[in-house]
Each structure stands twice: as structure tokens, then as C-alpha cells.
Symmetry: C2
Subunit: 328 residues, 2 copies
């Protein structure tokens, strides 16, 4: 089964290769008969242009790279998948191609972002999951290709961003906890390598007078251990509520509290609204962010950057979802 090329189409239509190219790329100055002949020939043959050849010959490629860092750190967190499908769904409506690239710290050391983009003729990138210590994070500070970063803050005016307003969301959660009578709120943060952690903590700090922050590395088990140790200590902690920077850590906290039979006394709030939150017992009060919308906005924004040079900083709405773990 030989691949069929533009020459085959030209031969069957009885026109030149350039005529075929013109027609298929929608140039308007073609006679109706030529258009007709080319289109039926292409259809009969099931012709599809070879993308490598098209990229090579054409100056401007039309491909957006979605670059996700460390996609499989935590089981049960489907965020990468939602980003992927959000971006794909948006790009499907355009004539941009989608390319997916999963990276990690090691790969970043082998090949720069720039190199990757040159290699694959990338015209725009959407990137997520970088920690401030990652090589690409630094590279982005001087990066010139149209780029949109999800959930990240880059010191580079030319990088677009999309995320919810993490600080305000965290502030609002903390305020509502206090309005509901909780005044000793422990903040369980992940770590400060992720921009979002920093912002969430900052929102919390803006609301309370005497902040207490501990770090659980975004891991359920670490959160469990920390909370279990804290609440089983001889000197009981004063906290009446826990606000965790991620749902998985909130689950860790709740498991510890359940084991100590304290789950009904301490309010727990998570962040992200992963699927688990509504299946866990108790169901978990959390901040819902619509990842699909975030991803689609990112796709929309890179294309706008590419085509119109507009750099956007998009804030997507969030929603506090009240469930059993905290009535706020």
C-alpha cells in the first residue's frame, strides 16, 4: 500500500502539482473546474498531505505543543488528562496541530525547551507542572516563542498565564471557615516549589491573625503522619480546622482524624476538587477548579498570541464546593 502524494492527485486531476496545492490550501484564484477536478481526485485517492513535507516547505508551522511535567506523580489525580483533553478539544476546532510532550527534570537537562521546539517546528507552547527548580522554569524567563503557562508565575512579561485566582480562593475559604466559627485553622501546604502553593498559603495568611503552616509535600501519607502525630500527642493541638492545599493531603488528614475518632470535630477543607473528594467518607469540602476550561483558555490564548501578538493573563473562576468535611 503505497502512500499517495500530491503528484498522484495532480496526475489524476490532470493539473500541475502547484494547482493541487493551491486548491487544497484554499487559494481563491482557481477556476471552478480546476477546484472541482482536484477535489474529486483528492477524495477518490483519499489523499492527505504529508505533514513533515508541509512543515518543511512552509515557513510557518501550525503546531501547538502541550508540555506537561511529571504527569504521573499521584494516582487518582486526573488533572493532566483533563488538560490534555481540554487542549485537544479546543485545537480540534482550529487548524493547529496538537503535539504532546511529557517531560521531567531529567529530560529537561538533556534537551532545552528551545531545542525541542526547533526540532518539532513548534509555533506555540502550553506548559504546566514545572517547579521553580526545573531547568525549563528558568529557560522560560527568557523564552521568546508564544507560550502560555498554566498555574505558574514566570518572571517574563511575554509568557501568558492561565489559572484560577488561588490567593483569593484560599482567602475566601479561610474567611468562611472563620465566619462559621473555626478560629484555629492549620494550613497544610505542599511545598513552595509550586507557584500555586505559595499563593494559596498567602491567601490563608491574609485572612488569619496567627498563621500555622506545615508542609506535607503534596503527599497523602505525609499529611496523614503529620496530623496523626499532632493530634495523638500528649499536648492536644488547639486546631479546630485544617485547610489543605490539595485534596490528596486533605484525605491524608481526614484518614488520620478518622483513626483518632476526631473527624467529626475538626473541619477539613481541600483544594482542586479531584474525583476522590466526592467518593470519600466524609465527602470533602474543597475549591473546585474547572481544569477543562483552564486548558481551553490556554489553547485559545496561545493562538491569540501567535496570530495577534496579544499576551493574556487569564483568570478562570473557581467555586467553593461544600460537602461533609466542613460546613462552611
Amino acid at each position: 500500500m503505497k502512500k499517495i502524494t500530491i503528484k498522484d492527485v495532480a496526475a489524476r486531476a490532470g493539473v500541475s502539482v502547484s494547482a493541487v496545492s493551491h486548491v487544497l490550501n484554499g487559494y481563491s484564484d482557481m477556476s471552478a473546474t480546476t477546484v472541482e477536478k482536484v477535489q474529486t481526485a483528492a477524495k477518490d485517492l483519499g489523499y492527505v498531505a504529508n505533514s513533515a513535507a508541509r512543515q518543511l516547505s512552509s515557513k510557518k508551522s501550525k503546531t501547538i505543543a502541550l508540555i506537561l511535567n511529571e504527569i504521573n506523580v499521584a494516582r487518582g489525580v486526573a488533572m493532566p488528562l483533563e488538560i490534555i483533553s481540554g487542549v485537544i478539544d479546543y485545537l480540534d476546532k482550529t487548524d493547529y496541530e496538537f503535539v504532546f510532550y511529557a517531560t521531567n527534570t531529567e529530560k529537561q537537562a538533556h534537551k532545552t525547551l528551545r531545542q525541542f521546539c526547533d526540532e518539532h517546528n513548534i509555533s506555540g507552547v502550553i506548559i504546566q507542572g514545572l517547579r521553580v527548580t526545573d531547568p525549563y522554569y528558568h529557560e522560560l524567563e527568557h523564552f521568546t516563542l508564544p507560550t502560555v503557562a498554566i498555574d505558574m508565575n514566570i518572571r517574563n512579561k511575554r509568557i501568558g498565564t492561565v489559572s484560577i485566582d488561588n490567593e483569593t480562593a484560599a482567602f475566601e475559604v479561610t474567611e468562611r471557615l472563620q465566619a462559621s466559627g473555626y478560629h484555629q485553622i492549620l494550613f497544610v501546604n505542599g511545598g513552595r516549589k509550586a507557584a500555586v502553593s505559595h499563593e494559596r498559603e498567602s491567601g490563608y495568611r491574609k485572612s488569619v491573625t496567627k498563621p500555622s503552616v506545615i508542609f506535607a509535600d503534596f503527599r497523602e501519607q505525609v499529611a496523614f503522619d503529620l496530623i496523626f502525630a499532632l493530634f495523638s500527642a500528649e499536648k492536644k493541638p488547639i486546631y479546630d480546622a485544617i485547610f489543605a492545599a490539595s485534596d490528596l493531603m486533605a484525605i491524608g488528614c481526614l484518614k488520620a482524624l478518622k483513626k483518632l475518632d476526631l473527624a467529626s470535630q475538626i473541619a477539613v477543607v481541600g483544594f482542586d476538587d479531584i474525583t476522590l473528594t466526592s467518593y470519600f467518607t466524609p465527602t470533602i469540602t474543597t475549591v473546585h477548579q474547572d481544569v477543562k476550561t483552564i486548558a481551553e483558555s490556554a489553547a485559545k490564548d496561545v493562538i491569540e498570541h501567535i496570530e495577534k501578538g496579544i499576551i493574556k493573563h487569564t483568570i478562570v473562576g473557581y467555586e467553593i464546593v461544600v460537602r461533609e468535611s466542613a460546613a462552611i
Copy 2:
């Protein structure tokens, strides 16, 4: 920031373009000094070969396409993500490129698999999630490119396959239920469009004498409704156990049973071992399949097909994980 090409490397190294190409592609018949010069020049310039050009000029491309159908049907099911990272992890150790393509019934109607592969110079494909009614499913019956299908049965000797032994696993679960004293087992199947459902049901049927099968379309809510209706009917059903063909449906069943306060009396077993199973109350007894291993095997097998012409039908091990919902 101009892209740097092979010419730039040649110029800087003071050799011809072909010499650069030879060195960078590891041809052995180059003088040590040339190799040296080329390598430092390439390194200094941060040169990476343009993949489009490479693909065009070279006969054989080295890219594997992972094609996933309907990736975002069910929240909480991270299987597509595990397949993606399994395939990527394996390919990273080879010199094959990874290309990801998410499809659905509509896209399949617009562009054939063959067209997609020609367009992108694909040398091998890994495919998952097709239903027997999908256009690509039919196309695969006469497909000639090296292909490995995950969890699918294609009537085409040339298509490799990877999956667990679904029939045996289902048989074993049913046997163990009976050995544990459950003799009225209801099988909640998804639908027969997926090969796995068919096999799982068949394993169940091999074990029981009087099979009872209902269909819940792989959906939690449908399973819930069905079970709730069944067990709240005037005439109580005789079932003492439910075996669902997917964990999500098992959860739907358990939610219905919990609502009717029957969860402790009826054993429930799921299938797949998604993350939710260990967080739900009760935790769910299920058949664990190691998706990562399945994905890696698929990658390994396509490459073996491409390079040695060997077509494999790989069976990956499964494990019955006993949790609270059924002590078997």
C-alpha cells in the same frame, strides 16, 4: 533567534553537510578528528536535527503513534493517563518518537487510520478503547501497519494484542465467590461493544450454572438505578453477591445497597482496580490490572513487530485484590 541547521554545524566544524549527518547518525567510518569536530560544533551550537526534514528525507521514520479512543468518558478513571505514561516511559529508552492522538467516533469518520498514519509518517501504532462499532475497528481488520491493540480482539492475525486474561480473571472471581458461600451471583456488565465485557461475562458464565446478567453501560448511575430498583422491589431478589465488570459500576451498586442498608449483606466485586476502590467505603474487592505494564508491553511489542516482524499476543498478569466489599 534563528534556528540552527545542519549547515551551520558543517560550517563551524569545517566539514561537509554529509559528514555532519554521518557523524550524528553514528556511521562508524568517520575519522576520529571529524567526529570530534562535528560533535563539539553541534554541541556548541545546541544543534538538534529538524524532525520534519529527517522524516522526509529518510525512508523509514521512527515514530510510534498511541491512539486512544474517547479518553474522557468517565471521571475518576485514570487508565488513559497510565497508558500514556507507560508507553512514553518505554519509548524514552528507545530512539522511537512518541506521538499521541486522541480520537472519537466523529474524528474516525473524517480521517481513516491509514490516512492519519500516512500524514504523520507513523511506523507503528498502539491503539486502545475502540468499540466494535467504531470505524477504526473495522479498518483494523485489514490494516497492514505494525499495530498492537490493548484490550481488544481484532479479526486480523497481523494485529498484536496485549491484555490480561479477562475471561480467566472473571472465572476465578466467580469461583472464589462461590467457594466463599455466595451462590446467587448477579453479573453487572457494561455492554458488549467492548471486547473485555464479552470476555468477562464469558468467564462468569463458565463458572455459574444459572447466570443472571444485566447491563449498566459502564456507568455508575445506571448501575445504581438498576440495583436500587431491583433490591427495593416488592419481590426481593435472591442475589447474595454482585460481580460488576467495572469498578465504577461496582460503586454504583454499592451506593444503591448502602442506601437500602444492604451493603453488609451483599458481596460486591469490581474490575480494574481504579484508585477510587481503595478510598470508597467500603473499600472494594476487585481485579487489579497493571496498566503501566500493559502499556509498556504494547510499546515493546510494536517495536518488535517493526524490527523483527514478530507479532505477539501478550497476556499480562492480574491480581484479585480482596478488600471490604467481598471477603473471598
